[in-house]
Symmetry: C2
Subunit: 395 residues, 2 copies
Amino acid sequence: MSFSFHLQKKCDTTWARVGQLRTPHGDVSTPVFCPVGTQATVKTMSPRGLEEVGVTLVVANTYHLYLRPGADIVAGLGGLHSFMGWQGPILTDSGGFQVFSMGHLREIDDDGVTFRSHIDGSEQRLTPEKSIAVQEQLGADIVVSLDVCPPYPSDREHNRFALDRTHRWAERCLKAQTRKDQMMQGVVQGGTYADLREESARHLVALDFPAYAIGGLSVGEPKALMHDMLDVTIPLLPEDKSRHLLGVGSPEDLFEGVARGIDIFDCALPTRVARNGTFFTREGRLNIRNARYKDDPAPVMEDCSCYTCRNFSRAYLRHLVIGREILGIHLATVHNLHFMLDLMREIRDAVREDRFAGLKDEFLAGYKVADFQAGKRDRQAWLAKLGAHKGVCDE
Amino acid sequence: MSFSFHLQKKCDTTWARVGQLRTPHGDVSTPVFCPVGTQATVKTMSPRGLEEVGVTLVVANTYHLYLRPGADIVAGLGGLHSFMGWQGPILTDSGGFQVFSMGHLREIDDDGVTFRSHIDGSEQRLTPEKSIAVQEQLGADIVVSLDVCPPYPSDREHNRFALDRTHRWAERCLKAQTRKDQMMQGVVQGGTYADLREESARHLVALDFPAYAIGGLSVGEPKALMHDMLDVTIPLLPEDKSRHLLGVGSPEDLFEGVARGIDIFDCALPTRVARNGTFFTREGRLNIRNARYKDDPAPVMEDCSCYTCRNFSRAYLRHLVIGREILGIHLATVHNLHFMLDLMREIRDAVREDRFAGLKDEFLAGYKVADFQAGKRDRQAWLAKLGAHKGVCDE
C-alpha cells in the first residue's frame, strides 16, 4: 500500500488526536495545516520557501488546473509534483466546490454539472468520473470524491436531494478510480441538518473510503452550528482513517477542529489576508497598514522565528505594503504560514503530552478574532537587536 | 578613509578595466551591475535572494524614499541598510532624474527645483544641499551629486545653461557634505554635445570628486550617440576613480560600456521586463507567454545555474505568468538578475585574462536585441533531467 494513516496518540479530555499520514511523497504528521496552491503555486511562495516554513502537505485546485494549463499538460510534464517543483505530498480537491459556487453559471443534473469557464467562458462538464480522471492525471497523493455542495442557508428538501446525489457520486468516484497510489477521501455532506450529517457519515463509512473529508461547512453558517455538525459527524467516522475539514483553517478554527477530531485543515486565509498586509499574532490579526507602525522598529511578533520576524521591522513591512511592493506580500505570507504551521506543531506536541485542552484555553483567551493593535515596545532595545543581529557596520 | 577605488587590471585592446571598490559595507568588484531598489526593495527580492544571485551593490532612489517613508523615518530606524535588511553596499541617486522627468509638475530655478509629489500632490523642494542632507540621512555608501538633466533632444543653448547650473550645484553638493564615510559621485552632463561633455568632465575633475558618474544618457538618443559621448568623456576622467553610467544596463549595454571604461551600471530593466514574463538568454530576450512554451519541459536557459532554471520548466513559468501569479514574476526576476551578474562576472574574468574583446564580439554576435523564440529541445531528456534532479518518486 503506498498510503496509510496511523493513529499515534489520543487526547485524554477531547477528541483531539495525533497521527501519521504516509503518502508516496513522504509522511505527514497530523493534525496538519495545508496551504492552498490554487494554480499549482501557493501564492508568492517558492517550493523551498514552503519547506522552510514547515509545510508538509499542499492543496491544489482541480477546477483551476483543469481549465489552465489543463490536466493533459500537467500529466505530460510528469504530474503536479514535477510541474510545480514540490516533491512533498499534494492533495487535490474534486473541483466541485468551485463549480457549485458559480451560481447561475452552472447547471446540475444527476450525471454531473455543466459550467462555464471563468477564463474564456467556454462550456465545460464535470462528472464524478471526470473529476477522478483529471485528479489521476494531476497525480496528487490524496484526492477527493466529487460531492454536491448546497449553499447556506438551504432548506431540508434541497439538502436531502443533494445528499442522495452526493452519495451516488461518491460510489461512482470509487468505481472510476484506476490509480492505486492515490488515497481517496469520501466527502460527508448534509448541510446544517444533524440527521442528514449522521446519515451521510454512515453511508460513506459503509462505502469504505480510505479517508474522509467533511464538506459544506464554513460557508456562512454560525461557528457554533459548524461545531455542532462536527460533533455529530466525527464520532461516526472510523478512528483509523484520516478526517479532513475542507476549506477551514483560521487560527481559532484549528483548535476547535482538532478538539473535535479533525486531522487535516486547508485554507487560503493565511495567504489571502497576507496580500492585504494582515499578519497573524498570538493576540489576533495585526494590520500593518496602521499608522502606529510607521516608525516601529520591532518585528511583527517578538518570539517568532520566521525569516520575516528575524529580519524586518514593522516600519519596513508597513512601508512595503503601503508602497504596494510584492516583497511585502511575500514576507507577510511567509510569516502567516510559519505562524499556522508552528501553531499546529505546538498543538501536536500538546496532544502528545496530554495538555491540549490547556493550550486551547490559553490560546483562545489571548486571541482576539478582530484586528488588534500591537503596542510600541522599547525602541532602543529593538534598534540594538536589529543592528546586532544583522551586524551593522557603523563607521 | 572608509572608501576607495583600486584599479587592478586594464584591458590590452579596449578601455575595459577591472577594479575593487571599497565601502563601509564591503568590497565590490568592478565592473559591477547594480539592480535598482526604488522603494528600498529590489522588486520581489528578499535581501538573502539578492545575495544568492550575486548582487554586491544595490541602488535605491532618493526621490521615492524622501517622499515615502521619509528620510527621518529611515534615519530613525538606523539608516537604509538596517531598514531594508541589506548589509551590503548601497548607492543612492540624487533624486534629480525623477524630478526632472516630471515635466510640467516641476519648476527649476538657480537654487533648486520645486515639484509636486506623485503620491499626494504636495509641493516639495529639492536643492543640492537638500539632496545631500537626505542622502546623508538615508546613509548609503555611495551618493550622487544633484545635477540638471535636460531632456533629449534639447538644443545647445538649453544644454549650455543647464550645464553651468549642474557645475554650480556640484560644487554646492561637495560643500554641503558633512559625512566623511560616503563616497560622492560628481555627475558629468552636456547632453549630446561633445564639447559640452568634454567641458563638463574637465570642470568636475577640477572639483576633485572621489568618484564620477555620467548622466543624461540613454534618455532616447541613438545608441551610437551615447557611445560617442562616452568616447569623448571617459578619457578625460582620472583613471584611479570609479565611473558610473547612470541608469544604463541592458546586456548589450554592459559590453559597450565596459569597453569604454565604465565601472558601475545600474538599471531597472532586468527586474522591469521580468514583470512582463521576459527572460534574458544568451540569444536574446525570451517572452515566456509565447504559446510555443506551453508544454516545454526545458528550463529557460540550459546552462544557467539560477534557482529558476535549476527547478522549473518553461511550461510551468509560462503557466505562472499567464495566471498572473507573483511567483512567476519572482522567478523571472531571479533569473534575469542572475543572468546580469553572471555576465558581469564573465566580463571581469575576460578582462583579467586579456580576452574581453573576443567575449564581447562573441556575445554580441549571438545576442538578438529583439525577442527570440527558443526551439524545443529533446523532450524526454528534459523530463528525465527534471525528474532525476528532483528525485521524483514514481510509485
